[in-house]
């Protein structure tokens, strides 16, 4: 049967090695994580909110943000889900959790992975701490995951 399908289709790929210029904000954020195991946010001069991860423009006020704020490596869960489906781009095997984490000192939620696969063990308000990768590879996964504390 399958070669009947194969005759009807053409299999191909889009394989492109993209190289995205990070810019000052992404560079500082990722470098601080990799080098000093520190997580930084940036504060908007107009609304005063500290955003993490940092970017140049506050999307609410459309103002440039220049003031860096060092945040804690711990935070509280404001929302989570536990993943039990898998795809080729997932960095680890399910089950694991994605969560919104309000890092100490931040005014917006940070999205990352929690290495917990049982929804009963997770709850909004629980405390989590960042676990940093041994050998950083210049990407968001240089925080390998967060773990419940």
């Amino acid at each position: 049967m399958t070669d009947d399908i194969e005759k009807k289709v053409y299999r191909g790929r889009i394989k492109v090695p993209y190289k995205h210029t990070a810019g000052a904000y992404v560079e500082k954020f990722i470098t601080e994580i990799g080098k000093n195991n520190k997580i930084y946010g940036v504060r908007c001069p107009k609304c005063g909110e500290v955003y993490v991860p940092p970017k140049m423009v506050c999307f609410k006020c459309f103002e440039k943000m220049e003031e860096w704020v060092e945040l804690g490596n711990q935070g509280t869960i404001t929302g989570f889900t536990v993943i039990t489906h898998s795809t080729p781009v997932m960095p680890l095997d399910p089950p694991f959790a994605y969560a919104r984490i309000r890092l100490d000192g931040a005014d917006s939620d940070f999205v990352h992975i929690i290495n917990e696969g049982d929804p009963n063990k997770l709850e909004v308000g629980a405390r989590v701490a960042a676990v940093f990768k041994e050998k950083p590879r210049k990407r968001i996964l240089d925080i390998e995951y967060f773990k419940l504390v």
């Binding site: 005759k7 289709v9 394989k15 492109v16 993209y18 190289k19 990070a22 210049k138």
Partner: protein
Amino acid sequence: MSRKKKGDIFEIKWKTNLPYRWSIGKLAVKFFEELKENKKILGSKCPKCKKVHFPPRAVCAECLVKMTLDDMVELPPRGTLEGFTVVNYPFTDPSTGGIRPFPYGYAIFKLDGADTYTMHFVNETDASKMKIGQRVEAVFNDELVGDLVADIPYFRIVEDEKEGD
């Protein structure tokens, strides 16, 4: 903003690797069957305006009429060179992620009996040897598998008509 040297750009890398399974349609399925089994090249002829399309397809753009398997017509593996070039620059081929070998001859020609043109590889990488109006002929691979570029790796310039059968 300071001009950063090449070396120290801080970049985030991402290699896309999107596998696609494109449907080719009934006419193309027939085209590749005929190519593989009988070394034949088929186009599709609009039942209304009689325009012969190559490659074969199911919709005639002039009449917005469907073309089916019954409208497929055989085209000789020969045509007339309308234009040519020699691709002589490096680029990443998005289908493989690697650099496509170059230089390679690339031409546009009209198969005898077709009303549309076609672009394909030609086996000439010296532009001075190619001239508009020359005759070209498909060169078939020994073993045919039903893939356009594998089965017809290139068209060749026919020196003079006698030589081409």
